[in-house]
Amino acid sequence: MEWETVIGLEVHAQLATKSKIFSGAATAYGAEPNTQACAIDLALPGVLPVLNREVVIMAVKFGLSVGAEVAERSVFARKNYFYPDLPKGYQISQFELPIVKGGSLDILLEDGSIKRVGITRAHLEEDAGKSLHEDFNGMTGLDFNRAGTPLLEIVSEPDLRSAKEAVSYLKTLHTLVRYLEICDGNMQEGSFRCDANVSVRPKGQAALGTRAEIKNVNSFRFVEKAIEYEVQRQIALIERGEKVKQETRLYDSDKNETRPMRSKEEANDYRYFPDPDLLPLCVTSEWVEKIRQTMPELPTQKRVRFEHQYELSAYDASLLAGHKALADYFEAVLKLTPAPAKLVVNWVMGDLAAALNKVNLDISKSPLSPEKMAGLLNRIHDNTLSGKLAKEVFEVLWEGNADTDTIIKERGLEQMTDSSEIEKIIQQIIDKNPTQLAEYQAGKDRLFAFFVGQVMKESRGKANPEQVNALLKEKLKGEMNV
């Protein structure tokens, strides 16, 4: 039987605010345990939550970016359960009335086509603290620094049909939230976490199969592997005549398998009810409009613009648009040089990207400013530098403070474009290599490259290769006629 996979994703994006969602405590990652937890985060008696305005603005930005409805009225509810790292005994989360409803995200599939994935909702909530089970001699350590950190939970429709699609959706969403500057996207630090709802059904069947929820998978690669494992597990179960249980499962990346969580951890009646400490959240259309004015250009918009404005290929445009800082750098360079966009792309995504990669630096921290990059491209564009010399100059630029023109002058690297000078060198080479000349004349065409190489070497790489080619061809022809 042929099976179809159905996947819906819930992403928890940690909002990049300085302070927590309901208190003034800092949200910075990696502080000493319990140094960033105030009375409100610790749920001391009598304290009250006050909503962080910045969090609302970020949620609205996200809603606008996926074409969703921003609810005029949304409500914070209490999700009640006991756990040591949940200080209040309830999590404040939006339940029945979320701030963002509907919307969609376009993702690029492997075959180059675009798929539209529905977004059901996105709601605001607070994170819990952390339980640390190691290093405490059979006891549990509690760190409440993370308690009260703002999260935006983004829930997709069950529109994804393979692990690869799921990963593409996640990557697109990951790019989007960083574009909006509402989430730093750091998956290792847990700023961007994913739960996957996975089910299978016989191809052609309309009804959904029973789903399992895979919790907290923290890398794109593991999401793919976890879903693939889970799909195979479910298919095998059904084919054996067994049933898929609706349950929450954990992915073990060491063993590459999913395992059910203990039923105790999931059999909860959360007793949701509206939090009486917080009034309903009202976001007026005027406010939404104000926020809309501050929206950056989004990845899709940028990709389309790059294709049209700079006549880039879809591939180049989408690679650039996928990384905002890279796109910004590209455009900054382009403004400073008459060189064609394609040349700029090749250098920015080629040599520069490779050099940055080698030292593990983001483009935003590039030691080579757009000004310096443009300086180099100017000299390539006006033929002062050959490609080979340009690479040499780039190395020097990367290492130090000098600019391209100074380097060229100091090292005498201008391209040799004077035909008579090139001809002189060609003559010398021909004279020095009578044997090779004879062989070439006898029909060994391959030796043409040898002559080019010798000429380039003699000119220390400065001779314009195109000119060398043309002049050499002519000269050798001439020698034959002698």
Partner: protein, 484 residues
């Protein structure tokens, strides 16, 4: 006999330097020492802090920088968190709890220089109508020590009634200020929901809880409400509504004021002598120029059932934080997490608290939520609507505060329903979020009788005005228990 003066008189005396704040505070501390063993109104007495505050008030007054209330003693209900001073909320659960912050109300009292004498006894987590649910033992009514002072703010009420403090704070979720005020012959104000910040006030039922005051007269309450009322950015449910000068309008004439008498408040359950007192009060208001009108609040009978779904539901969630993990009582040698939770909470909470947590947990459970919590919220809207309709015809609503006078200690402890009914006239006011005052209106068998005046949103100034006018023409509020 400094304790026989009203707060307003003390403020004048201090301003005139007839005596010092230190003398005044010392006098009240001595009274507490001599009389509180019988009443049990205080859980903690903060002698040193009170004296140092008084000393500072005296210095400031000499320097001419003192607030007019600086050095006036106050008793604080032990539900308000006080920095560095134990805050128990009447519970063994918090027997060891010292907050690192002041409640906003405490902060404002401190800023004005009021001297906190101590923290008063209360029903555990403000759940109760007799103050018999306190881990620290029952409070006795100064009018008859075999009787209850009412609850949950019983300690504050007893302290002021016995003149152990000229003023005290309380909280009112279903009548916890007004009912003890009625039972102890005090003037007790429950302001509009959102008028006084709830920050640092330990939550029982968040959508109903409101801090307020006990005093000997409307005039005294006006002075302290002035400094405690107002918006607080730390409480999202506090309301940014202008705070008027509450003392300025006390003397306004009542000519033409319309007072409504709800027929639902004068039914079979009401002690006839209390009904008589209320009718006498109505006559006083008629003499003062008010118009009296019969009105109806048709959904009154639904207030107790709605309250006993909403309040426990909120409390079941509010009290989840007492889990023995971060502060408060933790059981000895827990074998695992579940044991830690179960025993810490079983040992830390008293039976009424457990009862309400269980009722509330049940009411919010999957499958019951719609039938209980949602339905109760709908009823709440109907009750609020009753008042909105009534206030189209009248300015205030007058009735009894309680169906009966102070009952005997132990009389209702095994009959929660009967206990719950003592708040039958007060609860609907909390459900509607309105301000109300209970004020002395006479006696029945030598026990105080309270009348309740209910106003529309943020009508505290007017409410204090009509009580003040009543108190200018009656002397019930001046009567004192024997031996004071």
């Amino acid at each position: 006999m400094l304790h026989l003066k009203t707060l307003s008189e003390m403020a004048d005396d201090l301003a005139e330097k007839r005596y010092s704040a230190t003398e005044l505070v010392t006098h009240f501390l001595n009274r507490i020492q001599n009389h509180d063993s019988e009443l049990n109104a205080f859980i903690t007495v903060t002698k040193e802090q009170a004296l140092s505050t008084a000393k500072k008030a005296d210095q400031d007054r000499m320097a001419g920088t003192a607030h007019k209330l600086a050095g006036i003693p106050i008793a604080q209900k032990d539900i308000f968190c006080t920095k560095g001073i134990k805050t128990t909320c009447g519970s063994f659960m918090l027997d060891n709890f010292i907050a690192p912050y002041d409640a906003t109300l405490i902060e404002r009292c401190n800023q004005a220089g009021l001297a906190t004498l101590g923290k008063t006894n209360m029903d555990e987590f403000a759940m109760g109508s007799s103050n018999e649910n306190s881990y620290y033992g029952p409070v006795r009514n100064p009018w008859d020590v075999t009787r209850v002072p009412g609850g949950s703010s019983g300690g504050s009420a007893a302290a002021v009634a016995a003149r152990l403090a000229p003023i005290a704070t309380g909280t009112d979720t279903g009548g916890s200020i007004r009912q003890p005020a009625a039972l102890c012959n005090l003037t007790g104000l429950k302001p509009t929901y959102g008028r006084i910040s709830r920050y640092g006030m330990i939550a029982y039922a968040s959508s109903l809880d409101q801090g307020g005051l006990f005093g000997l007269s409307a005039e005294d309450l006006a002075l302290v409400l002035q400094i405690t009322a107002g918006f607080d950015e730390k409480d999202s449910t506090s309301v940014d509504h202008a705070v008027p000068d509450y003392s300025k309008t006390l003397h306004d004439s009542l000519q033409g004021v319309r007072i409504g008498i709800p027929k639902e408040y004068f039914t079979a359950g009401l002690n006839p002598q209390i009904a008589h007192c209320i009718h006498e009060a109505i006559k006083v208001y008629e003499k003062l120029g008010a118009t009296i009108k019969d009105i109806s609040l048709p959904h009154s009978d639904l207030s107790i059932p709605a309250y006993y779904v909403i309040a426990p539901a909120e409390c079941s969630s509010n009290l989840s934080r007492y889990d023995g993990i971060r502060y408060g009582h933790r059981c000895e040698n827990p074998v695992d997490l579940s044991d830690l939770y179960r025993r810490s909470r079983a040992e830390g909470f008293g039976s009424e608290v457990k009862r309400r947590i269980m009722i509330g947990t049940y009411a919010l459970s999957a499958g019951y939520y719609d039938a209980y919590y949602l339905k109760a919220q709908q009823i709440r809207q109907l009750i609020r609507q009753d008042f909105v309709e009534a206030f189209k015809e009248v300015d205030f609503i007058l009735g009894p505060t309680t169906p009966d006078t102070a009952f005997k200690l132990g009389e209702k402890t095994n009959d929660p329903i009967s206990m719950y009914l003592s708040d039958i006239y007060t609860i609907s006011v909390n459900l509607a979020g309105l301000p109300a005052i209970s004020a002395p209106a006479g006696f029945s068998d030598n026990l105080p009788v309270g009348m309740q005046l209910i106003g529309s949103d943020f009508s505290e100034a007017k409410l204090l005005n009509i009580i003040h006018q009543f108190q200018q023409h009656t002397d019930w509020h001046k009567r004192m228990p024997e031996g004071v």
